[in-house]
Symmetry: C2
Subunit: 308 residues, 2 copies
């Protein structure tokens, strides 16, 4: 098939750290343009201050990857879909669930491929974990996602704004993994959300969930972790304990441990190319729906102000 002419919209940390190298390493794509209001572009690639400018004066493109903060993603995604372009959405796929539903309708209307890209699902340990769990009785699951927001999200004020999700911005990665590796859907039972007195998004959360067979799943999220960081999922089964750590990269099973090379974003772009070739979309709102359910039903406590 023809090479996909791709524009990357939003040139922040995730675009430069992950998207651009993955695109450069995939023969199915050529980086045809970049868009960002306040960044320089990439040497040798046409750069535009807005998507409208790209549409008006830029090269022809087939697809866009949206790497902006979630609050501004919807209008960009819809403009792209309405022009028949294929769209990859960084996670979370929208600031609201309604936005994602509207994008699905727009993609169906234009015949474009829409991909809600949950990058953590492509971590090396995830598919082996899923395969191992499929044949076992699962007794309980514990998720611990504790990181230092000052290290991982320095100056990212959008994360604290309404729709920025706070500690669920990394936490939704864990939810994207467990909704992939566990064989049954998850239901939120209870949530305790800790909001800094000066912020509109939570800095920590404790979630109690169950799968549809009643298996208990607990989740401990905290942005205030200093020292050792934790991105771990522990699943107790009738055949012993599975531990997925380092955000899904390292898988430990009874009697064995494996740590394959990190291929998250390369695998994600390969899947996007396959979706476009097949004329299909891949949309899953389950991780964002669990977060929305936690906000909908959760209890809220106020904690110390957070100053970046």
């Amino acid at each position: 098939m023809a090479t996909i002419r791709l524009a990357v919209i939003g040139l922040g940390k995730i675009a430069r750290d992950q998207h651009l190298p993955a695109i450069a390493g995939d023969e199915g794509f050529v980086l045809a343009a970049t868009v960002s209001p306040d960044n320089a572009g990439v040497t040798g690639v046409p750069h535009f201050a807005s998507l409208d400018n790209l549409f008006a004066a830029g090269p022809a493109i087939d697809a866009v990857a949206l790497c902006t903060p979630p609050q501004v993603r919807f209008d960009l995604a819809r403009a792209a879909l309405d022009r028949g372009l294929h769209v990859l959405l960084e996670k979370p796929p929208g600031a609201t669930l309604g936005e994602v539903a509207a994008l699905v309708a727009a993609a169906e209307a234009s015949g474009s491929s829409l991909f809600t890209a949950w990058h953590s699902r492509y971590a090396a340990g995830v598919e082996p974990a899923r395969a191992w769990l499929a044949a076992r009785r699962i007794d309980r699951v514990r998720i611990v996602w504790r990181e230092d927001v000052r290290v991982w999200h320095p100056g990212q004020d959008w994360i604290w704004q309404p729709g920025g999700l706070g500690v669920f911005d990394p936490g939704i990665n864990a939810l994207s993994i467990v909704t992939r590796i566990l064989p049954r859907p998850l239901l939120l039972q209870d949530a305790l959300l800790s909001f800094p007195a000066n912020r509109a998004a939570p800095i920590a959360a404790e979630l109690t969930l169950q799968d549809t067979a009643g298996t208990p799943v607990v989740m401990d999220l905290d942005f205030r972790q200093t020292g050792p960081q934790s991105w771990d999922i522990v699943v107790e089964t009738d055949s012993g304990t599975l531990t997925l750590s380092s955000g899904g990269a390292v898988l430990a099973l009874p009697g064995q441990s494996r740590h394959d090379a990190d291929r998250e974003y390369p695998a994600l772009y390969r899947h996007f190319a396959e979706l476009i070739a097949a004329g299909r979309s891949d949309v899953d709102v389950a991780p964002l729906r669990l977060v929305a359910d936690a906000f909908l039903c959760g209890r809220r406590v106020e904690v110390a102000p957070f100053v970046d």
Copy 2:
């Protein structure tokens, strides 16, 4: 077709005020049993303290209507669907969106009809409003839903619990109407939620929404209204103003006003009977999704404690 043998689960205010009379007036249904842990039943109808007791010792039934508070509805609905029974869910259809998604899967697995019953959509003015608006340019929409919680929800403590939705319990009726009468989907833009210091659910809310063409929609919800009550939707169009008041019962169009007989629950049960006859489900999460999006993205302020 054969008469549908129906059990009503949860005999609170809404069941006695609305469901039982509607069922009694529809030849397609026979009230075969009632279930409630702490109420007397209905004269001449077998009554059970739990759904399990009904399954163990009760008469054969074809369908259930779930009129309990939303927080306990999921397990009951799934138990009924897993036995192949058809299920009508009072609004809201679940305490979380994940619950509704899981019920859809359970209904598909068992071949049962699942009906998320948004009763306000059957108010007399709703379908004429929808037909009138379909042919017009809509400029703006204003929703005012202000009622005295002490009058309409006396002692209903569940409404203040997590998952009880607070002022969105009536407000979701307005959302169920506007998502029916407006021609395009709605997206939440902003929300301000007022929480009493001693409660886990909002007592008032201001929502800013847009439809997918950018039409502004504002919503003003308040549980603290004394004196005149308001359940009004005002739609300004290129052909003048449409006003739907009294919760959808009264429709005023330029030069005319109509107030047809209240047929909400009778119409709702007629639709349920038709779904069962056709082997279909009717599931729409849009109103609950908008509420979840408001909690997800909304800003929150603390207001005076509420004492019932």
